[in-house]
Amino acid sequence: MWLMAVAAFPAVGLAAGLVIPPEDVGDARQFAEVPAQLQLTNETASPIDIAGIVPVRKGDSVGAYPRQVPAAGSISVPVRINTGNDLGIHLHAFGIKTNEPGLAGYFAQVKVFSTSMLDDPMPKIDFGMVAADRPSDAVSVGIGSRESDDLRVERVIESPDFVDVAIAADHRGVQLRPKQSSTWGLHAGYVKLGLNEASQPQAWIEVRADIRGDVVPDANPFGFGVARQGQKNEFSIRLSNPAGKDFRAGAVTLEGFKGDAKVVPCVPAKAGCRLLKFSVADDQDTGKLAGLIKLNLPASKATLGVNVWGLLLKAETKVIALDDEINKRAEIPQGATSAAVVPRISDALKRQPETSKTSTETEPDGTGPLLRWTVANEQELYGYAIYRSERADGRFKRVSTNLIRANSDLDGPGKYRWRDRSADPGKSYWYQIMMVYLDGRMKALSEPREFQAK
């Protein structure tokens, strides 16, 4: 779907007639459907016909919309975002094709910040090196949430073909075991689990294994760094048989990028050693490349996969070394007697904020406990969530529906106020503030604090 979208909407020129500002829909849970509106404004004196709008990401969708943007007018396009396994900031793009001559199309971006109710929102299991011909130990992975006593794994929705999955007897997690396989190399995928919780219907576990047989690459994944169009961009990966036994390579194929690959003897020639040489072709999109080289090994009746990653740039692409540029600004000025001081992180760590932020929020109206807090050093934070329990050692549930955004544009400590309008008068509650990092992780900001609602 993504390839189709990119093929249909490769680019947009600066003379485009539509203005489509990025849309920020705030925060949502993982695996949620979030409505959003794309605003298309026509800045020309002629109407612009819309030939089609497609989501770039699988799971997103487009609703009914007008097929024409009037001259000097606007239309709204309803779309739905499926947050899937996202955590933190994620961008969801939509390709828009118009009748404007010479213009391939537009990309509209929708930003969503996703959070999870799971204690470990991005569980990962790396089995490391796994022998292709010997059984491996199973690993247990718990799926839990401080918000729910009764979170259970109900089913395995999907799992990669290199992993066996068994739901634990108490349904509080799963057991994972890598399978013996004739497909060697780095394997990665998601074990997708169905949960009994409406606000967190799924949990995905990222699993990895480096399945090793008789032939082993010296790096997998192999990062080739930077390739530039117009250059040879040839790279080599050494393949070895750990026992020094010679081997014969069969067909080599590429997936995910354009180029060539072949297997040649090592120099100097050595038993059990071959070089996998590959090149990156010019005629593909610039940017980050990620692909797979598959090598058939007939004697072993196996296939070895080597993942390769890198960045393809145009020949003339200018890359600025950020630190060098910053340091240039701090060099000795003409006539100065000493070098300007380059700020060091140690200095920054000693520096205390000199001013206080003032929350732009007005005093929340209504009745109920009013929480006030002040926080310094919020640069890594997206915002805050308020959790509440009826006991100090009870289950804490989120009571702030949306996240309270950190005032990252202001200097100094941030001051916040939030009122719990759902509290019953006379009842005691325990409140805890959780901080939400820009990558979506949550961590307690405060210890639970008791308060009797008035």
Partner: protein, 169 residues
């Protein structure tokens, strides 16, 4: 000269990766990004050309418009937040790896966008392995007006978040 240095650094990183038999994903020693807490003001997107078609491999496609690319070294450990403040355009920023381990979630949360004259930040570098990274700054809307698309790019070493006061009334 700058380009040569960049390529040498990248080549060195590739060799380090290739020689780390079976441990291609372990942290590598690299100069630290956050030796300073400062920024590079006065950048202008209009001074760049369209350089990239996509950033996050299979995640985000870019419109045809100028892309500024900065090479940065992230050490281990590091703890800095990269921020761009752009005026006259909607900044899109993404942190790409040239040679390092990849997550299934290709860019993860290391891309962001925002409106003009707001700070657009990426998560702390503390979650990244050491290595060479490429920061791409572009326009999310592909409708910039030159020469006014100026921006400041920088990074701030972060201190632990500190709760200074908490009360309930």
């Amino acid at each position: 000269m700058k380009t040569t240095l960049m390529l040498l650094a990248t080549a060195a990183l590739s060799v380090a990766s290739a020689s780390a038999f079976g441990q291609a994903c372990t942290a590598q020693t690299a100069p630290t990004l956050n030796q300073g807490t400062t920024s590079l003001p006065g950048q202008n997107l209009c001074g760049f050309t369209d350089q990239l078609a996509k950033t996050c491999a299979n995640g985000t496609s870019l419109a045809t418009g100028p892309d500024a690319i900065y090479q940065i070294q992230i050490g281990s450990p590091s703890s800095a937040v990269i921020t761009v403040n752009g005026a006259g355009f909607n900044p899109y920023i993404a942190l790409m790896t040239g040679a390092s381990c990849n997550s299934l979630d290709t860019c993860g949360a290391y891309e962001n966008l925002g409106g003009p004259s707001t700070n657009v930040s990426l998560p702390s570098t503390a979650g990244l392995p050491a290595g060479t990274y490429y920061l791409v700054i572009s326009d999310a809307q592909a409708n910039i007006t030159c020469p006014g698309a100026t921006f400041t790019v920088g990074y701030t070493g972060t201190l632990p978040v500190q709760l200074q006061q908490f009360s309930i009334d």
